[in-house]
């Protein structure tokens, strides 16, 4: 196919974000909507002030039109994020168990629904930034352990994996070729 080479290597951040927007989130609607059967998902009937789970993309559309309030996920609070950060600092050899799409979801909610946050948005933004930096640093340290056959990325989120993927795949492939060149006779 005639698409740029780099698009064949990995997903773009925009594509990862598209996947993230299918995650469910709780909202408090301010108007009624009958239930909808879509190809991918089912949207439940919305009644004012009755909590419902909907995909993030719908929550953001409704929020933009001021038709709902978004209930922040449990982990997107200063206290919980601080706890994650402490875990990152304490365990230098593994990652804290953040959600699979934490960067994308926190970015979307910070931009679109910061008035629904129980904590101050700029504090959350700071901790998110700190978390991202410490995890990047760890991932980079982990690169020194690369080998030709195996890599373990427990608790890294999709976007973080996605960022490193083209690089790691190429390096590991070259390592595999190198070690195969001496082992091929034994097989």
């Amino acid at each position: 196919m005639s698409i740029p080479a780099k698009l064949t290597q990995t997903l773009t951040p925009g594509e990862v974000n598209f996947l993230a927007e299918n995650e469910m989130i709780t909202i408090l609607p301010r108007y009624s909507l009958d239930k909808l059967q879509l190809i991918g998902t089912r949207i439940p009937a919305l009644r004012p002030m009755k909590r419902e789970q909907v995909p993030i993309w719908l929550a953001i559309i409704l929020k933009n039109q001021d038709k709902c309030n978004i209930v922040m996920p449990q982990w997107l609070t200063v206290r919980q994020l601080k706890a994650f950060y402490d875990q990152e600092v304490k365990n230098s050899d593994r990652f804290a168990q953040l959600p699979w799409h934490w960067i994308e979801i926190s970015k979307a909610l910070l931009e679109k629904a910061s008035d629904d946050m129980p904590d101050k948005p700029h504090e959350i933004r700071t901790i998110i930034q700190d978390l991202r930096e410490i995890r990047q640093l760890k991932a980079r340290k982990g690169l020194k352990e690369l080998n030709e056959s195996y890599i373990q990325l427990d608790n890294l989120s999709l976007l973080e994996i996605n960022e490193l993927r083209p690089f790691i795949v190429k390096v590991m492939d070259q390592m595999r070729k190198l070690s195969d060149s001496v082992n091929s006779g034994e097989q």
Partner: protein
Amino acid sequence: MEYYDIDDIIADSQRLPVKFQISVPGLGYLEGNPGKQVSKDSRMELPLWLALILAICPIDDSEDSGQNFVELLPPEFLSAKVQNAIKSSPATIDLHSILPHFYNFVVKWCWLFEDAQLVQLCLDMLRERAAEINSRSSNSTARQNLDQINKLDEFEKRIFKLNYDSFKDLKQWLAAQHP
């Protein structure tokens, strides 16, 4: 091997010193003597793809049988001196000046010679340099890195670019407004 990989093809044409084991009539053009013979024990440089074939094909002839056409001489860039230099400072050595397609060449070389020690050396070097490349390509602008890039093997340049692009994409996306 990757058939369409241009770096692979270039690595294949890397010249290697060889010594002819027998005299071959009519092959003089290899050393600039068209029409003449190549005499026994003459030394010359042949591209890898030709040297390998001549080095592993046995001669099927009564008098010289069991011998190969050429003997491969250990090339300069795999000498103990170079290997020690790599071992002592894997992250900073100028790999491009040693050989622009070092890794690809080692893969081909070891396919024939099974030099496990050399492969181990390369693996250690690649691991060390990969970490260095990763942090450089994601931390500063391309211009600052020009010096460093010139010391990279062609394969390393490619992963440098890949990582630089990937990191830049993410940074741009994070800075942009949510649609």
